[in-house]
């Protein structure tokens, strides 16, 4: 690791600031002796730790703690006798009397209530968590809820479920990509057990890489991002995999319209260690094999996902997790053309309880995304490969000095390697082996935050994140003039720093309780982004290209403020929120007309830079319990860019600018056996570029463009319905049938609109649209034993 003197001096200037922050909770009181209750909260049936379970003190209203992402909590109180109330939604409350005259360890197992209560439970946290938590702009999804929603082709998909929340929008028809609060699709940090997933989609974006069988928790931060997260401007989607059942062996799986799934988990040593392995593969290509046509038989079209995890309890104080994900898409035509792409991620985490008030997590994280194109024609055999690879070391501490404060601090260093494209010759070929330049960079961060419960009414999460990014050799770097022409080249030796950027990112989020049932929340966050995704196409491509910030590409910066009103009605049966935000973005990227970003070392010459602004209001009303539950989400928003060189340097609508966005979701428990669900979505069409005229050149009619994103796609709306039939539901064995109809009323939503010469009358031109997925029914069968 190389630190420049500048970096060191910045670090030193930060240290006193961090200490000031720490001092806040050392207003030590020399009163009665204090002791700490710490421990773990688990699901009794599976031994799986519970994230966000609460421990409250009956005698001290407003005092409590919540479990962290590893199920641990710590609560320090004056010596006395207390009654602890332990809650996790969907589980029975447990009450525990303690006589606190010394520090205590409590390992609590909660029992699921799902078998007693004949209703669908849609929330996952304490009933009024949404009002009380100081975290603004956050959505947490429950896997139980996701599993009941209607889906495309029988594939449950967390990324598509996330798109039903206000402020989060789909990239396009059936697409797993999403936009958050007016930011680009590459501005979302998608983490799977802490490892970034660079391309979270399969099959041109129609499915996400997350097999919902293996997933425990999904949290999205749309604003007020906590300081432990960074590296993307718009959002964090933090996905945690199940640890694996350490009580009993369990097999579950299913078969749907296009894919089959199998999940096996169980104890390696009961109570102490567990394994989980979960796989999914599409099987549509097996039908190709049955085809009489050689070409079809020798073609491939499939994807798979494999998740695996091992959890070990090494001692009272130490746990070790090893988790990995491998997924790949493969498309091939005979042995002539082929493209395959996929991610591999790995996380090794050591969770150590330094004391009953100080927890440590050390992670080593690996992530790799690559694609390979193979061409093998009669006179040309070669392969093109491209990859982005991360090695990431992260150390985090959590410290619980007293019930009013919970501190998190840590640091991480990520080494990024980008291989933009390499051609290797695999046989006879008239192509020369060649490679675009590899790029190496180091992204460092140090952060601290404190969750401070000031009093019954006010709570705050405040923190600071310092990031640095260095791009270094070996490689040639270019000097570019204002006309985007290369006027100089500098060669840097291996490890020689080309450019270093620093950013200080304050993060603040707070809640003020107006009364028992309502609160106001506000947040501010600055975020930075050092890796940028360049895409040459209007659809998601596996060949989209990640480029690091450099001497020519400045890191993106965003500042977001939000203000919200949160209120629960009828004893927390209804949840309501209204949240407004404004986001200012710097160093945003767009493309020149006719940009060639595919096979050039000098992509910078094809890019234009400017700023962006996004603002909006999100409205959310949710009914949480009862036979009928669900929500209505509505977002009114705008997202605009001002880029030097586009539209005469005027503000214009970003592609993802959608004025109105509505989602309505309903789940209804019809009977013991049947659960029905439905959702309806509506949004204003994306901003698109359409021609203003036409002309003839090279003996054909060519369209003439005057304005970027000056038009709109037609409004999008769609309704999906689903039904789940429980075939059997016992302790030992359960199975269900899931029926879905995607786009039930067959709306032809425009996937793309193009222009052409009229086929019958070539003297005219016409516009046409292509719609996908006009009413797609599906059925899948799931089992568990």
């Amino acid at each position: 690791m190389t630190f420049t003197p500048v970096f060191k001096s910045k670090i030193y200037s930060i240290v006193p600031l961090l200490f000031c922050l720490l001092l806040v909770f050392y207003n030590a009181s020399a009163q009665a002796p204090k002791y700490t209750i710490s421990g773990t909260i688990k699901d009794k049936a599976s031994g799986e730790t519970l994230i966000g379970a609460t421990v409250r003190v009956a005698e001290l209203p407003g005092t409590g703690a919540a479990t962290n992402e590893y199920g641990n909590f710590s609560l320090t109180l004056p010596a006395a006798a207390y009654t602890l109330l332990i809650d996790y939604v969907g589980f029975q409350q447990q009450q525990q009397k303690v006589n606190l005259d010394k520090s205590l360890k409590l390992n609590i197992s909660l029992e699921s209530q799902s078998r007693q209560l004949n209703e669908v439970v849609v929330t996952s946290s304490r009933a009024d968590q949404n009002v009380r938590s100081p975290q603004a702009g956050v959505e947490r999804l429950d896997m139980k809820e996701i599993n009941l929603l209607p889906v495309l082709m029988g594939e449950r998909d967390v990324l598509k479920s996330v798109q039903l929340m206000p402020g989060i929008k789909s990239v396009g028809e059936g697409n797993a990509g999403f936009y958050v609060r007016g930011g680009g699709a590459d501005q979302n940090l998608i983490l799977l057990d802490d490892a970034p997933v660079y391309n979270a989609s399969h099959l041109l974006g129609f499915f996400s890489t997350f097999n919902s069988d293996a997933i425990k928790d999904v949290t999205v931060y749309k604003g007020g991002m906590p300081s432990e997260y960074g590296g993307r401007l718009s959002s964090v989607l933090d996905i945690k995999m199940n640890d694996g059942n350490n009580q009993d062996y369990q097999v579950s799986g299913g078969i749907g319209l296009i894919a089959a799934r199998l999940n096996v988990e169980g104890p390696i040593q009961k109570d102490k260690s567990s394994f989980l392995i979960s796989g999914r593969r599409t099987y549509a290509d097996t039908f190709l094999k049955l085809s009489g046509d050689d070409d079809f038989r020798n073609s491939s079209l499939y994807f798979y996902d494999l998740n695996a995890k091992l959890s070990y309890t090494l001692s009272e104080k130490d746990r070790l997790f090893v988790s990995g994900y491998f997924g790949r898409d493969k498309l091939g035509f005979r042995d002539e053309f082929g493209i395959d792409w996929g991610n591999a991620t790995g996380t090794v985490r050591w969770s150590h309880l330094v004391s009953d008030r100080l927890f440590s997590n050390t992670s080593f994280i690996f992530s790799d995304y690559n694609y390979k194109i193979g061409i093998n024609t009669n006179n040309n055999s070669f392969e093109i490969t491209s990859r982005i690879q991360d090695l990431n070391l992260k150390q985090e501490f959590e410290f619980f000095p007293n019930p009013q404060n919970a501190v998190k601090f840590g640091a991480n260093a990520i080494y990024h390697k980008v291989v933009p494209g390499e051609i290797t010759v695999t046989g006879e070929s008239n192509i020369n082996p060649s490679a675009l330049q590899e790029r190496y960079s180091l992204e460092n961060a140090a952060y601290i935050s404190n969750t401070w419960t000031a009093n019954e009414r006010l709570s705050l999460i405040y923190g600071l994140r310092l990031t640095s990014f260095s791009i270094f050799g070996k490689g040639d770097f270019y000097t570019i003039n204002e006309n985007k022409e290369v006027i100089g080249t500098t060669s840097y030796g291996s490890g020689k720093i080309v450019k270093t950027y620093f950013n200080l990112e304050p993060r603040l989020s707070g809640a003020y309780q107006l009364n028992e049932t309502s609160s106001m929340k506000a947040s501010y966050a600055r975020t930075s982004q050092y890796l940028h995704l360049l895409s040459n196409s209007t659809t998601t491509n596996p060949t989209d290209k990640w480029v690091p910030s450099s001497n020519n590409i400045k890191p993106g910066l965003a500042d977001q403020v939000s203000l919200g009103y949160f209120r629960n009605f009828s004893d927390n049966l209804y949840e309501f929120s209204l949240e407004g935000y404004y986001k200012h973005m710097q160093n945003q990227i767009d493309y020149k007309d006719g940009a060639n970003i595919t096979n050039s070392d000098m992509v910078e010459t094809e890019l234009l830079f400017g700023k962006g602004r996004a603002y909006g209001v999100e409205f959310f009303l949710k009914k949480k319990f009862g036979r009928l539950n669900g929500w209505i989400g509505y977002t009114l928003s705008r997202s605009e860019r001002l880029i030097d060189g586009i539209n005469n340097n005027n503000w214009y609508a970003a592609r993802q600018d959608r004025t109105h966005d509505v989602s309505i979701v309903g789940i209804y428990q019809l009977s013991e056996k049947w659960t029905l669900s439905g959702n309806w979505v509506y949004n204003t069409g994306n901003a698109v570029t359409f021609p203003a005229g036409k002309y003839r050149v090279d003996d054909q009619v060519v369209f003439y463009y005057t304005e970027r994103n000056g038009y709109r796609m037609p409004d999008y709306h769609r309704m999906d319905i689903g039904a789940t039939k429980t075939l059997k539901d016992t302790e030992k064995y359960s199975s269900e049938l899931v029926f879905s109809i995607y786009n039930v009323y067959g709306r032809e939503n425009a996937f793309l609109i193009n222009f052409r010469e009229n086929e019958v009358d070539p003297s005219r031109t016409e516009a046409y649209q292509i719609a996908l997925f006009k009413m797609v029914p599906s059925v899948s069968y799931n089992f568990k034993f």
């Binding site: 020369n432 003839r696 060519v702």
Partner: protein, 269 residues
């Protein structure tokens, strides 16, 4: 074959399979497009061939008008080279200004100036040295059970210098409406067999007995960039659809190309 074309071919293949599976539907729609003020379109060529070249000038039209593009007749067009020769072009037919005396010589730079009213447009293009067009052949390739005839242009790319090529394909004297270009970014100094597949409706497919003519041109890098981006504009799949990158200054659409030409023809058998 250019690499990015391969990628798109594959993605198109995948998309085609998917769309077939999912019964995508296509329909003509009404889109209310704004009218734009007309711009001049200049298409200028000077070659070392029998036909030394011409400059065509027309205007853009609104989308809902017909596809008859009348020539612009009131232009003054001059082409000069860096050897001291200048010619003021005479109008052959409305909007078509022909070169008659100026010779296209490889290695020379040509300067086009077009004046229409009080507007002036200009462009510079250098005619590269020709690369011998060794042979033209047609081969049959079977994809998804459908045989397809593909013409190939074969030549030896000169090593150590950047080369850019453009090809025009004629089937039975009918020009195929596709942009065929290549650069030697990946094939410097190699024997190149450039495939020129004809995409589109089945009726126009190459059959046994068809007369195939290929014109191979050596073009300069600015003209290559124009056709590269023209292909994207025609494809309508770019992240940011826009006008091709023109080498003409002054605000006209189109290009000016000084290039060498070599023709070969064959009959499919």
């Amino acid at each position: 074959m250019k690499l990015y074309q391969m990628r798109y071919l594959l993605l198109l293949l995948a998309a085609a399979v998917l769309t077939q599976l999912l019964s995508a539907c296509e329909r003509v729609i009404d889109v209310d497009l704004n009218a734009a003020s007309a711009r001049y379109v200049i298409e200028g060529n000077i070659t070392n061939g029998d036909n030394p070249g011409q400059v065509k000038i027309s205007r853009t039209k609104n989308f809902d008008e017909n596809n008859v593009f009348e020539g612009v007749s009131n232009a003054v067009v001059t082409v000069s080279d860096n050897a001291g020769n200048t010619e003021t072009l005479t109008q052959q037919s409305p909007g078509v200004y022909a070169i008659s005396s100026l010779a296209g010589v490889p290695g020379r730079s040509y300067h086009l100036v077009v004046t229409i009213g009080d507007e002036t447009f200009s462009a510079v293009s250098t005619m590269p040295e020709p690369v011998p067009f060794d042979s033209l052949y047609v081969e049959e390739l079977t994809t998804f059970g459908e045989p397809m005839w593909i013409p190939y242009a074969q030549y030896n790319d000169p090593a150590g210098v950047p080369n850019f090529y453009r090809y025009e394909l004629y089937i039975n004297n009918q020009k195929v409406k596709s942009v065929y270009i290549s650069s030697d970014q990946y094939t410097d100094g190699r024997l190149v067999r450039r495939s020129l597949p004809r995409f589109g409706d089945d009726e126009g497919d190459i059959k046994v007995g068809d007369h195939i003519l290929v014109e191979m041109q050596s073009i300069d890098s600015a003209v290559y960039n124009y056709f590269y981006s023209l292909e994207q504009t025609i494809g309508q799949n770019a992240a940011a659809p826009g006008n091709p990158v023109s080498n003409i200054t002054g605000g006209a659409l189109g290009y000016f190309s000084a290039h060498t030409v070599q023709r070969k023809s064959t009959v499919v058998e």
